[in-house]
C-alpha cells in the first residue's frame, strides 16, 4: 500500500475516503477539504475525525456551555478558567488548587475494571498537567438496579478498578456516590474527580511556544489499544468497530502512572518545561494539535520516533492510539538533557519526537514523507458547532403532575414501620462502606475528613494547616422532573456539604451525563440543566472552572435520567476547625436550620 502523503492527497483528489466510518458527517468532511484546499490524507482524516468527535469537540454542547463563562460570577479566586485541562483556584497562602471531574461511562460498561481504572488515570493526568501534585480522588457512581444480574458484573469491576488504580497511585479517595436506578442499567455512570495542589508560580499550561523548543513524548509506549475509542464513544452503538480491528478498550498501568507523577513533579521543580499536555482521548492527535494550537508557532513531529509496543501500527493508528500513561512536554533545547535524565531516574521512557517551528502549521512526517500539514487550530479548537434542536417533551407535564401527593399514605403504625424499613433498607440509603472500605482514604497522611462525611477534607500545608474541602452531588430523578432546578439542587447540595465542614465554597466543576443529543427532549434537558447550573453558580458566586460532558448514555430510545453531577471545592484556613458530621458529646443541642 502506498503511503498517503500530503503530496499524494493533492494529486488524487477523487480517491474515496472512509469519513463516514470514522464518524464524520458529509458537511464536516467537506469542511475539512475546504480548510486544507485538498482532500485530507489518511492521517489527517484520522486526526480530524477523533478531534471533531462529540467527545473531544463538544460540538453539541458548547453552545450551552458558553453560559458558564457568560454568567460567571465576579471572583478573584480563579487563576485559570475554563478551556485549560482544568481550572485553577487561588486558596491563599500562595497556594493554588486545581480540580476536575470527568466521565468514563461507556468504557466501564464494556470492561468495568479497566474502564473505571483508566477513568481515574485520565483525570489524574489532567490535574498533573496543570503543574499540580494530585492529592485526592472522588468517584460518583451510578448503576442499574442493585439486584439486576448485570449490576453484579459491572459494579464489583468498577469499584475494584477505581480502587485498584487510585490505591496503587497513592491518592486517598475522600468521597463519592453510589446510586442505583434501573435507568442506568445499560449505561452505568463512572465519574471520577481529582484535586491537585501547587504554588501559584508552578501553574503550567498546554501550549507550545518558542521556535526550536523540543517536543518530548514520555511515559508508556504507544500500542494498538483504544484506537477508535473516541469514535466509538461518540457514536451511539458499541458494535461499530470503525476502521480498525484493534480493541477499543485500554488497560491501565497505575504503576507507570505513579512513576509519571513523581517524574513530572521533579521536572516541574527544576522548571524544565515550557508547556505540557497529558495524552487522553485522541492521544497524540489531541496533544500535538492542542499544544500547537494554543502556542505561538507551528510544530513538526517525526512520527517514526514514537516508541511503540507494536511495530505493526500504521501512522494513522499511532496518531489515534489512546494508550494510557503518556504525557507530552515542550522543552527548551538546553534543558532536554536534564529532562531525559530525570525520566531515566524514574524508569520512564522519554523521546524527542519533534520541535516547535516558526511557521503556523502542524506538520507530521513518517519515514521522511509528510503525512500531515494542517492549521492546528482547525483541528483542536475550531471543530464543528451544532445548534441541535431542543424541545420540552410532551410527557414532562404528566411526569410532573404525578407528584408525591398522589401516593397512598400509611394507614397505621405497622404500615408506617414497614415503609421506614423499606426506605432505610434500600440500597440507595444503606451505608456505602462496603464500597468505600475498598478505597485507601489514609494515604499521603493528610486526610482530615473522608467517608462517611458529607465532604472530604484534605490538609494541603502541614505547617499552616490550610486545607480544602470537596463534595460531589447529583440527583437524576430530580433532574428528570425539572432539569433546571435539578441541576441547581445538585449544586446546592454539594455547596451545603462543603459549607457544613466549615470550609468556604469557592468553585465548581461538573460532569454532565445525558442521553443522545440527537433527541430534542434530551437536548432540552441538557439546555435546561446547564442554564440552571450557570444561574445557580452566578447566584452563589462560585464559578464553573471546568468539567466534562458525556452524551449518548442511552440504550435504544431509552436515555438515562439527565444526571448533572456537581463538585464544589472550598477552602478552610485551618483544618483544626473542621466540623465532622457525627454528633459530638452528650448534652449538646441539636438545631435545625432552614425551612
Amino acid at each position: 500500500m502506498t503511503l498517503d502523503t500530503v503530496k499524494h492527497a493533492a494529486e488524487t483528489p477523487e480517491s474515496g475516503q472512509p469519513w463516514k466510518e470514522l464518524g464524520l458527517k458529509e458537511d464536516e468532511y467537506a469542511r475539512i477539504r475546504e480548510i486544507l484546499g485538498r482532500r485530507p490524507t489518511g492521517a489527517e482524516l484520522a486526526m480530524y475525525s477523533v478531534m471533531w468527535s462529540e467527545h473531544c469537540s463538544y460540538k453539541s454542547s458548547k453552545v450551552h456551555l458558553k453560559q458558564f463563562g457568560e454568567k460567571a460570577p465576579q471572583t478573584d479566586a480563579l487563576l485559570v478558567g475554563i478551556g485549560e485541562n482544568a481550572g485553577v483556584v487561588d486558596v491563599g497562602q500562595g497556594y493554588a488548587v486545581t480540580f476536575k471531574i470527568e466521565s468514563h461511562n461507556h468504557p466501564s460498561y464494556i470492561e468495568p475494571y479497566q474502564g473505571a481504572a483508566t477513568g481515574v488515570g485520565g483525570i489524574v493526568r489532567d490535574i498533573l498537567a496543570m503543574g499540580a501534585r494530585p492529592v485526592a480522588v472522588m468517584d460518583p457512581l451510578r448503576f442499574g438496579a442493585a439486584d439486576h444480574p448485570d449490576t453484579k458484573r459491572v459494579l464489583p469491576g468498577v469499584v475494584a478498578g477505581v480502587g485498584g488504580y487510585g490505591n496503587c497511585l497513592g491518592l486517598p479517595n475522600i468521597g463519592g456516590e453510589v446510586v442505583f436506578d434501573p435507568c442506568y442499567q445499560g449505561n452505568p455512570l463512572v465519574n471520577a474527580l481529582c484535586v491537585g495542589v501547587m504554588k501559584h508560580e508552578d501553574i503550567h499550561l498546554a501550549q507550545a511556544s518558542g521556535a526550536g523548543n523540543k517536543v518530548i513524548l514520555y511515559g508508556a509506549r504507544t500500542g494498538g489499544d483504544g484506537i477508535g475509542g473516541v469514535s466509538v464513544l461518540a457514536s451511539e452503538t458499541f458494535d461499530s468497530t470503525g476502521p480498525s480491528r484493534r480493541p477499543a478498550v485500554q488497560v491501565g498501568d497505575p504503576f507507570q502512572e505513579k512513576l509519571l507523577i513523581e517524574c513530572t513533579l521533579e521536572i516541574f521543580r527544576e522548571q524544565l518545561v515550557a508547556g505540557i499536555q497529558d495524552l487522553g482521548g485522541a492521544g497524540l492527535s489531541c496533544a500535538t494539535s492542542e499544544l500547537a494550537s494554543a502556542g505561538s508557532g507551528g510544530m513538526r513531529v517525526e512520527l517514526d520516533t514514537v516508541p511503540l509496543r507494536d511495530a505493526t501500527l500504521s501512522p494513522e493508528e499511532i496518531l489515534m492510539s489512546e494508550s494510557q500513561e503518556r504525557m507530552c512536554a515542550i522543552v527548551e533545547p538546553d534543558k532536554v538533557d536534564r529532562f531525559l535524565e530525570i525520566c531515566e531516574k524514574w524508569d520512564v521512557i522519554a523521546t524527542v519526537i519533534g520541535e516547535v517551528t516558526e511557521g503556523s502549521r502542524l506538520e507530521i512526517f513518517w519515514h521522511g514523507e509528510q503525512i500531515v500539514d494542517v492549521p492546528p487550530r482547525s483541528v483542536a479548537h475550531e471543530g464543528p458547532t451544532y445548534h441541535r434542536p431542543y424541545a420540552r417533551p410532551d410527557w414532562q407535564d404528566t411526569l410532573q403532575a404525578d407528584d408525591a401527593g398522589r401516593l397512598p399514605r400509611p394507614a397505621d403504625s405497622a404500615e408506617l414501620r414497614a415503609q421506614v424499613l423499606t426506605l432505610v433498607g434500600s440500597p440507595n440509603q444503606a451505608s456505602k462502606s462496603w464500597v468505600t472500605d475498598q478505597y485507601d482514604r489514609f494515604v499521603q497522611g493528610n486526610t482530615v475528613l473522608a467517608q462517611p462525611e458529607d465532604s472530604g477534607v484534605v490538609r494541603i500545608d502541614a505547617d499552616t494547616d490550610l486545607g480544602v474541602a470537596l463534595a460531589t452531588d447529583g440527583n437524576g430523578r430530580y433532574a428528570k422532573l425539572d432539569p433546571y432546578t435539578g441541576a441547581q439542587l445538585a449544586l446546592a447540595e454539594a455547596y451545603r456539604n462543603v459549607a457544613a465542614t466549615g470550609a468556604k465554597p469557592l468553585a465548581v466543576s461538573d460532569c454532565l451525563n445525558f442521553g443522545s443529543p440527537e433527541d430534542p427532549a434530551v437536548m432540552w434537558q441538557f439546555a435546561e440543566a446547564t442554564r440552571g447550573l450557570a444561574d445557580g453558580c452566578l447566584a452563589l458566586g462560585t464559578p464553573v472552572t471546568g468539567g466534562n460532558v458525556s452524551l449518548y448514555n442511552q440504550t435504544g430510545d431509552a436515555a438515562i435520567h439527565p444526571t448533572p453531577v456537581v463538585a464544589v471545592l472550598g477552602v478552610i484556613d485551618d483544618v483544626n476547625r473542621r466540623t465532622p458530621m457525627a454528633f459530638g458529646e452528650q448534652g449538646q443541642l441539636i438545631l435545625l436550620l432552614g425551612e
Partner: protein
C-alpha cells in the same frame, strides 16, 4: 476425576503491565535473553464425570463467559493427561 486447564492470557495487542514489569526486572537479576514476557492466569478445574465433547463444550462456554473477558483476553482449554 479429570483435570481440565484453562489458560487465560491478555490478547497480544493489549498492554500487559505485569509481564512488562517482570521482563524489565530480568536483566537486573542477571537473566539475559528473554525478549518478551506475558503474564496470564491458569485455572485448574477438577471435573466430575467424563470429559467428553459435551463437557468440554460447557467448559469452553464457561471460559468465554466467565473466566475470561474476551474483550481483552484470549483463552485456551486443555485436558490434562
Amino acid at each position: 476425576m479429570a483435570r481440565v486447564v484453562v489458560d487465560v492470557m491478555l490478547k497480544p495487542e493489549i498492554l500487559d503491565p505485569q509481564g512488562q514489569a517482570v521482563q524489565r526486572a530480568l536483566p537486573r537479576l542477571g537473566f539475559a535473553g528473554i525478549s518478551d514476557v506475558r503474564q496470564g492466569k491458569r485455572f485448574e478445574l477438577e471435573v466430575e464425570g467424563p470429559v467428553d465433547d459435551a463437557a468440554l463444550a460447557r467448559i469452553r462456554e464457561m471460559a468465554e463467559t466467565f473466566l475470561a473477558n474476551t474483550v481483552i483476553e484470549d483463552f485456551d482449554v486443555k485436558v490434562e493427561s
